[in-house]
Every structure is written in structure tokens, then in C-alpha cells.
Amino acid sequence: MAEIAWREALNQALAEEMERDANVFLMGEEVARYDGAYKVSQGLLAKFGSARVVDTPISELGFAGLGVGAALVGLRPVIEMMTWNFAVLAMDQIVHNAAKVRQMSGGQLRCPIVFRGPNGAGGRLAAQHSQSLEANYAHFPGLKVVAPSTPADAKGLLKASIRDDNPIVFLEAELLYGVKGEVPPGELLLPLGQASLKREGSDCTLITWSRMYYHAEEAARQLEAEGIHVDLLDLRTLKPLDEAAILTSVRKTNRAVIVEEGWSFCGVGAQLVDLIQSQAFDDLDAPVQRVTGLDVNRSYAAVLEHAAEVNPARIVAAVKQVLYREEG
């Protein structure tokens, strides 16, 4: 099986879906002549032309709304946000129009649109360019939120997102675009709303998504060396949430640690803890622990940035805590 980078997996997904359906177009800042700020759209302008790969002005609210309008009358836009930080300017269109229009119209309109781009820290980018914003979007009814970790999942889920008839928030990660993984050849479609059990073990359930999967995997390897085996559940889709997969695993291991890049307060992990405590309270042998980014604005200085981040050591410590094992 071929090993390809994240950006190439996304590029394949876009090219294949645009080839398959002429209603699909890609719009955003630097997507066309520049070939994408992160080179995800490399070569697509040459292949599909200027009406289907559209460079926009720096008007996130404007072009997000343009995409929503086009979706309401049957096109299938993919709107690239150069980063999800900038998409805060477009949030009005995403949460007020895309997410609500079907309900407000009593089922007369549908809004098949994908908003995608990098989310989370980029490395020394300071406070305004390092945010993980998935909890904000997961909060709103009417949206699906996708946050894959591996190139294969990214490809299969982006293709499924483009074919979905609902508005999708598709979160990539700036630090993952160069990460490689095996992607099976041929058509690859993965259903939204299905978590992936990336590793099996009976001692504890590690729940994560997006880039944090790699930290969780590293932590799991270290724990294995100490004889601790975890279920590593990669959610892949945050909404709809694969509740069954979470509960099945927690009922098996009786312990859970949730790993989230974003802030703790009102984070997605808080929702997962609520799910587990309300549905699997009697199965728990320890309080659920969360490993998250610290609740501070991200600093530029390396030492400050790293101190606020999730790392494998913190995950290892949290797993040992729920297992009541002393450190060192």
C-alpha cells in the first residue's frame, strides 16, 4: 500500500470528487494560482479551471456566505479556510445560515457544503494562530464536525463529507499536512459518525481525535512497555458522535482518559465525560481524566508554548492515575 502525506490524501479526495461531480467546486484564499497555502489544492486549478478552483479576496465572511448561497441552489461547495482561526470571521455564515437554514425553512432547503482547513497549533504561531476550535462548532445543532487523524481517514472522510447533504466542518491540522500514512488504492469512502479503534487493550480507554491521536499512540507505546494495554479510540467524527463505540470500550476497560488539543473549559472532552458518567457510571473504576491544552492563550516563546501543550508524558501520567499506579 502506498504511503502518502496528509496533504496529498486531501488533494486526491478533492480531485476525485471534483472529477466525479461537476457541482463540486473549491473556493478560498490562495487555493488556485498559489496552489494552496498548504499545497492541499496543488494542481487543481490547472485541472478544473478558474470557475471550479476559485481564489477569493480575504473576505472570510463573504466567501463562506457565497458558498452557503451556492449550496442552497444545488452546488456542492468546498470552502477552504486558510486556518480555522480566520473562520471565526465567517462563523456567522456557518452557524446562523448553513446550520439553521434547513430547520428555518421547515425542510425546504438543504445546504451541502464543506468548510475545511487547518485547526490547532502550528508551532510558534502565538495566540491568534494556534487555536483548536472544534468545541465551538460541535456546540451548534445542524452541523457535522469531522476531525480525522490519519491520511487514509482524512481522504475517506473528506470524500464522504463532500457527498453528504449537510454542512460539514472538516478540521485538518497544520502540523499533520506533511505526516505520511498508508492509503489504500482506489475508491475510499468512510462513513461519518464512526470512531476507529486504532489499538486494543483492556486496561484503559484512551479517547482522542485529530493530531492528538499521534500523542496518544506514542503514550500507548510507552505504556505497553510497562505492561499497560489501552483501547485507543480515534473518534474521527465529533458530531455525530459514535457514542456506542465510546461506551462499549469504557464498559470493557472501566477507565477512560480523554486527550484534546484544545482548552479544557467547555471542551469536547467535557461532553464526553458527561456521556460516560451518565451512561456508564456503574462501569467506572476511576474518575475519567482529561488531558487538554492549558486554559491560557498560547505564547510565542518555546518554553511557554510547550508548557501549555498536550504531550505523551502527560497522557501516560493520566492513564497511570486512573489505574491508581504510582509514577516512577
Binding site: 466525479r20 461531480d21 461537476a22 457541482n23 463540486v24 467546486f25 479551471g49 478558474s50 470557475a51 471550479r52 476559485v54 477569493t56 479576496p57 473576505s59 465572511l61 463573504g62 466567501f63 463562506a64 456566505g65 457565497l66 458558498g67 452557503v68 448561497g69 451556492a70 449550496a71 442552497l72 441552489v73 444545488g74 452546488l75 456542492r76 461547495p77 456567522d92 455564515q93 446562523h96 445560515n97 437554514v101 434547513r102 430547520q103 428555518m104 425553512s105 421547515g106 425542510g107 425546504q108 432547503l109 438543504r110 445543532p141 445542524g142 457535522k144 447533504d165 449537510n166
Partner: protein
């Protein structure tokens, strides 16, 4: 009012404006009775705009607006009882009572909705126009918005893209002079909205929004301009609302004298007086139309009042589209009639030939940039 107008067109103008007026008066009454709740923004005084627009564009063209949205749907021929039922929050409304006064959608008639965030519908209009160009389809979009929306970023972002990409949109500013209680002149460096088109090298027009015939002529001209690929137009209709911003607004920020002065140019009696003096129709004919409209609106109120509230199970529907789920046209659901529902070319049928980068050159002798009168 120079050109000759066929009698049936003039009577349609009158009937449609009077229908909106009567509908809004009855809505106000129902609001007072507690049958309509929440925010309810009446169109009284602005009827000539929606009615003039509707006659000037094609049924296939897209219309979109903000939350003062009863009039544009009624002018298009929406089912009067179902619009009223939506205001009443009943299951027989266009949105099953889920939208209410601010969110009237009638997709069968390409009425793409009322939106509640000021200026939020403006980028959507660029999207529907983008889709038309993408498909090489000659539909245009009319995007209504109030004067205050012209101070939102969405207005400027959208006008820039629409002009750059020659999108077929009439950006129709209904300038009723007040954004809620704040006069446009108090908060705007340039209160004449049409003047802002110059920033985007866009054609600008202004029209007396109390004169349905002038609105009709101007929009017809703008529609032809957009349809021929020359790009968008910023059209400002000077109008006035005789009621407050919404039902909860006593409108103490403007004088009685100002409102009385504006009532002298009320578009409905104005058209009627003109038509009678031009011997296009008689007082008796107008009286008969009024009686017919009153009965229609009475019927609509009765229908809304007698309609059931939506079942509580509806709470969970219409959020996410399930695979294979089809859209149910409202008149099919409520009235049991078959309707034409929008169908778009499949991804295999569609051939996209649009080259978005070049700009359509200005035609010889045609003013690309026209200053407002």
C-alpha cells in the same frame, strides 16, 4: 408616469400592494391579540418595492431578503394562508411554524428566505448568482436589504466579489431611513447607499420606492443589465415604514409630522389616484379588488387560526438531511397539490464553461458607472 401600462398590469400592482397592506394590518391585529408572538416586522409603506420587483423579474429568478419578509413572498404569489399560519406558529405554515415571521421561505417560487442577522443574506445572494453563472443559466438574484445592512462588513465583502466576478445580482437597498431606532444619517458617513457603488466600480441606481411604476421600470432595466452578463447593480429604493421597526417599537425617535408627511406619498392611494385619473380603471373596480383582497386575507386569518400547532415530534426533524431524504414542498404537504420543485443538473450532466478570471468589458457607449440621481 409616461409609458402606457396595460390595465391588467396596473390592477395587479394594486391588488398585490393592497394584499400586503391588508395582510400586515391583520397581522398587527393578531399580534395585539397574542396570536402572533416574537419579533414581527411589518412592510406597511414599502409595498411598492416588493411588488414592482416581482413584476420586473422572471419567476425563475431568485429572491432573498432579511427579516421584514412577508411582503416579498406575498408579492411572488405565496399561499396567503400559509404565510399567515407561519406567523401564527402553526404546522400549516411554510416552515411548519418553525421559522415564524422572520423566516419565510417559499422555494417553489424561488423565495429563498428571510434572514434574521442584519446583512447575513447578502453573501448568500452572491452564492445563488454564482451558481447561475457556474451553470451558464441566465437567472438573476434580487437581494433585498435595509439601509442599516449597508454598514455591515458582509455588504462590502459581497459587493466586492460580485463586481469582480460580474455576478448577476440586484443589490436592492430598501432605504427606510432607520435601522431600528437609529436614523441612517446619524451613524453613516455616507447615508446615500447607492453612492457606495463607486467603491466597487458598480452600476448604481436610485428610485422612488413609493412609486410602483418607477420601481418596476428601474428593476426591469437592472434585471436586463444583470441578465446580459454586465454584472451586479446597486439599487437604492427610497422608502418609508409607517409602523415601528417591529411590533414592539413605538417609534418615538421620529416625529408625527414626519410620518404624516410621508403618508402623503403612500404608494397604494397614489397608484389608485393615478390610474383613475388616467382612466385606466374606475373607483368601482378598485373597490371590488379591495373587497376581494379583504376576503382573501380574512380567509387566511381563519385558516391560520384553525390550523393545528406543529406536533412536538417536529422538534427533531429538519436539522440534518438523512441519506435519501427528499424535500417535501410545503403546498404539497399542506394543500395536497403537486408543485414544480427546483431541480438542478447532476454532476455528470453539468458542463462548467465559465472562466471566472476575465472581466466583462464595458460595452460601447454604455455607462458602466452611473451616478445616482
Amino acid at each position: 408616469m409616461a409609458p402606457a401600462y396595460p390595465k391588467d398590469l396596473v390592477l395587479r400592482f394594486f391588488r398585490s400592494m393592497y394584499l400586503i397592506r391588508r395582510f400586515e394590518e391583520r397581522a398587527a391585529q393578531a399580534y395585539g391579540q397574542g396570536k402572533i408572538n416574537g419579533f414581527c416586522h411589518l412592510y406597511i409603506g414599502q409595498e411598492a418595492v416588493a411588488v414592482g420587483v416581482n413584476e420586473a423579474v422572471q419567476p425563475r429568478d431568485y429572491l432573498i431578503t432579511a427579516y421584514r419578509d412577508h411582503g416579498y413572498a406575498l408579492a411572488r404569489g405565496a399561499d396567503v394562508g400559509m404565510v399567515m399560519a407561519e406567523l401564527f406558529g402553526r404546522g400549516t405554515g411554510y416552515s411548519k411554524g418553525k421559522g415564524g415571521s422572520m423566516h419565510i421561505y417559499d422555494i417553489e417560487h424561488n423565495v429563498l428566505g428571510g434572514y434574521g442577522i442584519v446583512g447575513g443574506q447578502i453573501p448568500l445572494a452572491a452564492g445563488t448568482a454564482f451558481a447561475a453563472r457556474y451553470r451558464n443559466d441566465d437567472r438573476i438574484t434580487v437581494c433585498y436589504f435595509g439601509d442599516a445592512a449597508a454598514n455591515q462588513g458582509s455588504f462590502h465583502e459581497t459587493l466586492n466579489m460580485a463586481a469582480k466576478w460580474s455576478l448577476p445580482v440586484i443589490f436592492l437597498c430598501e432605504n427606510n431611513r432607520y435601522g431600528m431606532g437609529t436614523a441612517m444619517t446619524r451613524v453613516s458617513a455616507v447615508a446615500k447607499v447607492a453612492r457606495r457603488a463607486v467603491a466597487y466600480d458598480m452600476r448604481a441606481e436610485s428610485v422612488d420606492g413609493h412609486d410602483v411604476l418607477k420601481v418596476y421600470e428601474t428593476v426591469k432595466d437592472c434585471a436586463a443589465w444583470c441578465r446580459s452578463g454586465k454584472g451586479p447593480v446597486l439599487l437604492e429604493a427610497d422608502t418609508y415604514r409607517y409602523r415601528g421597526h417591529s411590533m414592539s417599537d413605538a417609534a418615538t425617535y421620529r416625529s408625527k409630522e414626519e410620518v404624516e408627511a410621508e403618508r402623503k406619498s403612500d404608494p397604494i392611494p397614489r397608484l389608485r389616484a393615478w390610474a383613475v385619473s388616467a382612466q385606466l380603471a374606475t373607483e368601482a373596480e378598485f373597490d371590488a379588488l379591495e373587497a376581494e383582497v379583504k376576503a382573501t386575507v380574512d380567509e387566511a386569518v381563519k385558516f391560520a387560526d384553525a390550523s393545528p400547532e406543529p406536533p412536538v415530534e417536529e422538534l427533531w426533524t429538519d436539522h440534518l438531511v438523512e441519506p435519501g431524504e427528499r424535500d417535501v414542498p410545503p403546498r404539497e404537504r399542506v394543500r395536497g397539490v403537486k408543485v414544480d420543485w427546483p431541480r438542478y443538473p447532476s454532476g455528470q450532466e453539468l458542463r462548467v464553461k465559465w472562466d471566472l478570471e476575465p472581466r466583462i468589458p464595458v460595452q460601447d457607449g454604455e455607462p458602466h458607472l452611473k451616478k445616482p440621481a
